[in-house]
């Protein structure tokens, strides 16, 4: 037993020495940030594989890898609408090798579930500003006026589906109800699959969703949009009225972008910002945007613009949430 103990201590010691050596050599190299990036970067995504935010992050990462000439891993840390990923990124050192790809940052921050807001994170760049539509089964409603009339006649009885709770979907439905002066019943669905079949199957009266995920369903005519949440009419849908036309000032959608822990060398942020701009402008990324109907609105915002935008949104959603939670 004694001998065993001794050898284990020896073993432990060896390993620790090894660790110390390894640590030393790495630290000396990590001081110059101009060499960034020297090694693999991790992008934490707070949503499961296959979702909108995940696909977005992976598409961008594919371009970034080429531009920065470095391996980039997408790590899915599902849970709490991105809160877990933000928490983990906050726990990692601010060395520029851990990024967060998120869509709900302003909302989770406004709701208070994300404890690390702009005091702890710096927005690097926004890639997408997605556009919502209000979708129905064509057999049920003809136009947005029809829909609003029906909602007026049956206050609180028209069900509108959305994914998740206390997210952009719910806020959008709530705001629509407010500005149109009607009472809508929001039904939070587990995922878009259940929601889509709910609308087609007639279990839900309507739903809010973006134009990308609904493309196939729209093209074969099983659902149709009543209104688009945007300032100007869409080129692809010239007959589709906008919310602004109707006098409703709700045009927000999910804004997908990247964030990094505060305290990261500004130089690194600049490098990342530049690389991301290149990725955004790349032919392949633009093609993807077009294929999944993400190009309806200009998505790009640089770090400074995106920070201002995020600030605004947090303030705005705080107010909305207060009313919503009354």
């Amino acid at each position: 037993m004694r001998v065993k103990m001794n050898i284990s201590i020896l073993f432990l010691g060896l390993v620790l020495i090894l660790a110390a050596c390894g640590g030393g050599s790495e630290q000396s190299g990590g001081e110059a940030s101009t060499n960034y990036p020297e090694r693999k970067i991790e992008v934490l995504v707070g949503h499961g594989a296959g979702g909108g935010t995940d696909l977005f992050a992976r598409a961008v990462v594919k371009e970034l890898e080429e531009i920065l000439d470095v391996n980039i891993n997408v790590v899915n840390q599902e849970g709490g609408a991105g809160v877990i990923a933000a928490q983990n990124a906050f726990n990692a050192p601010a060395d520029g090798y851990t990024l967060v790809g998120d869509a709900a940052f302003p909302i989770t921050t406004a709701a208070g579930t994300n404890k690390h807001g702009l005091d702890d994170f710096v927005p690097i760049a926004r890639f997408q500003s997605d556009t919502y539509g209000l979708w129905v089964n064509p057999a049920k409603f003809d136009s947005i006026d029809d829909f609003i009339q029906a909602a007026k006649d049956n206050p609180g009885k028209i069900t509108v589906g959305g994914t998740g709770s206390m997210g952009m979907d719910e806020i959008t439905v709530f705001q629509l109800g407010q500005v149109a002066g009607v009472e809508l019943s929001f039904v939070p669905m587990e995922g878009s699959g259940e929601m889509h079949s709910g609308v087609i199957g007639g279990h839900l009266d309507a739903m809010v969703d973006e134009f990308g995920p609904t493309k196939a369903l729209y093209e074969d005519g099983s659902i149709k949009p009543l209104v688009v949440f945007a300032e100007e009419r869409l080129e692809q849908f010239p007959d589709l009225p906008t919310t602004v036309e109707k006098g409703w000032d709700i045009t927000d959608g999910n804004e997908r972008g990247f964030y990094i822990k505060k305290g990261t060398d500004p130089e690194i942020i600049k490098i990342l910002e530049g690389a991301m701009k290149k990725a955004y402008d790349s032919e392949e990324y633009q093609k993807l945007e077009e294929e999944s109907y993400l190009h309806l609105r200009e998505g790009w915002l640089n770090s400074k613009e995106f920070t201002t935008r995020t600030e605004e949104l947090i303030e705005k959603y705080k107010a909305v949430m207060e009313e919503l939670q009354k």
Partner: protein
């Protein structure tokens, strides 16, 4: 339709690229799925960028092939190590592991693979032939029906808990309670998170299961590790044994129907499908047979494996016919279609019929190839049972840790796994029916949120469950099932009395 299918098969067989992709899919699927911590979804996500460079046909043969094979291969470690390799294989541990421990790892694997292939082939055939009809069935289901379905599933607790119904019910309630913790999916409210950010994402199914089954088993086994193990030498791998097939064919038939049916419902996955068909297998068993479930009954393996493979194929129905992804992997596949410039949906059958039927043919071939190549794999894997426990045991622990961690890349989940390992160790000593907890955890999230969602859809009208025909039928069946044992007892007593009187 069938000429398309034949063209599809020819497309694969005659093109070396396509055959290569199918073979790669088999190897990756077999080995990847067998490793705890590597799920089918993960493999498909990892392979996705590889397919950018490929022709669409080859790309989808690779992706859907991996998807089809991992629906089975998770069973390998479930049977041998009690650690499900993929979430779908959770229920296979119930009977597969005991059978392997009784000296029949080859037979357990054989049953699993035979049933998986059968389930997969039936599922694929349904996909090919009656997709539009099935898609319509899926559309007629909504929250009230989902809820009624979970109620039907939960009523099986009576059969799962053996003689001690009170304990079984407590187990289910405990399982349901576990799934309450975290962010409420409907209102976004935090429940029992005690201000800890890590708890907002709730407690996942996988850490609970790996803890309850795999880690607790490790702790139990450490006790006898010093005893020299008797090596199981005469392991014969028989994939098809006629006596066993006779026993399980009814279960297989029932489980494939349940599997396909549950699979087509968006949001209800293969894990739920295998849990429900296991429940039904127990329910339909004769009274004297009921006790043998969970102790190595071949029907238990058959129920789980047939239905999870059938469900995996069923999940593709809404994806291909409606463009609605029914689960996580289906969502990744949807992304793959988009990346290759296609939109799944009814239109795709018209614009790209050859591709669609080549994909179908690929699924069919992948399922059949799985059977053809299984022998060497099984021979290799079943040796694991003979590895000394001072080697196998530590590996199991590391697999438990990694298998838990990789689900959400969350350290906290490992702590949950350890906690449930301790709970499982104690409860198993106490002879508590652990399967009831799993029943609760698997069905928990669906049960609560679908119930509340139904009420929300009906604007507070509780009669919604009884006014919709499908939901009403399901509820009536559940009630009958709940009281069936009592009625059955009563009838038996009457019969006995009659016999006594006549005697």
């Amino acid at each position: 339709m069938f000429d398309y299918l034949i063209t599809g098969i020819l497309n694969i067989v005659t093109d070396p690229m396509n055959i290569t992709m199918l073979l790669i899919a088999i190897v990756i699927g077999y080995i990847g799925g067998a490793i705890p911590g590597v799920s089918g979804t993960m493999l498909v996500v990892i392979m996705l960028p590889v397919t950018y460079a490929l022709e669409p046909t080859a790309a989808f043969i690779l992706l859907t092939g991996i998807y089809a094979i991992t629906a089975f291969s998770g069973a390998i470690s479930a049977i041998l190590l009690r650690t499900p390799g993929t979430p779908e294989a959770v229920v296979t541990t119930f009977d597969g592991y005991p059978m392997a421990q009784q000296g029949n790892p080859g037979r357990a694997l054989g049953i699993a693979i035979f049933c998986s292939v059968t389930g997969g082939v039936i599922g694929t055939l349904c996909l090919i032939t009656i997709t539009p009809a099935l898609a319509n069935v899926a559309l007629s289901f909504s929250s009230p029906e989902y809820f009624a379905l979970t109620v039907l599933g939960l009523t099986v607790v009576a059969s799962l808990s053996g003689k001690e119904l009170a304990k079984g019910l407590i187990g289910v309630l405990f399982g349901l309670m576990i799934s309450v913790i975290g962010m409420d999916p409907l209102t976004g409210t935090l429940r029992y998170t005690f201000d800890a950010t890590v708890l907002t994402s709730g407690i996942d199914l996988i850490p609970v299961i790996i803890g309850l089954f795999a880690l607790s088993e490790f702790l139990k086994k450490t006790k006898d590790s010093h005893v020299v193990q008797e090596t199981i030498s005469n392991v014969k791998t028989k994939i098809f044994e006629i006596e066993i097939f006779k026993k399980i064919k009814g279960t297989m038939a029932r489980s494939s129907i349940i599997g396909v049916f549950i699979g087509i419902l968006p949001g209800v996955g293969a894990t739920t499908a295998s849990m429900l068909s296991y429940s039904e297998a127990v329910r339909w068993a004769k009274d004297e047979e009921k006790a043998s479930y969970g102790k190595g009954n071949p029907k238990g393996i058959a129920a789980s494996e047939t239905s999870n493979n059938a469900a995996a194929m069923g999940t593709l129905v809404p994806l291909l016919s409606l463009g609605i992804p029914g689960g996580a992997t289906a969502a990744v596949l949807l992304g793959a279609f988009i990346l290759h410039g296609m939109q799944p949906g009814p239109m795709l059958f018209k614009t790209e019929p050859e591709l669609m039927y080549t994909i179908f043919a690929g699924l069919l071939l992948a399922n059949i190839a799985m059977l053809v190549v299984s022998k060497p794999f099984i021979k290799l894997f079943q040796r694991i049972v003979n590895v000394p426990y001072h080697v196998l045991g530590p590996l199991v622990v590391v697999f438990c840790v990694i298998g838990t961690y990789t689900v959400r890349n969350n350290y906290f989940d490992i702590l949950i796994m350890i906690l449930f390992g301790i709970i499982g160790y104690i409860l198993e000593k106490y002879k508590f029916p652990l399967a009831t907890i799993i029943l609760g955890v698997v069905l928990g999230p669906l049960t609560e949120s679908e119930f509340r969602r139904s009420i929300q859809m009906a604007n507070g009208d509780f009669s919604i469950f009884f006014t919709r025909p499908i939901s009403l039928i399901l509820i009536i069946i559940s009630v009958l099932m709940l009281f069936y044992p009592m009625i059955n007892d009563y009838i038996k007593k009457r019969k006995l009395q009659k016999i006594n009187i006549s005697a």
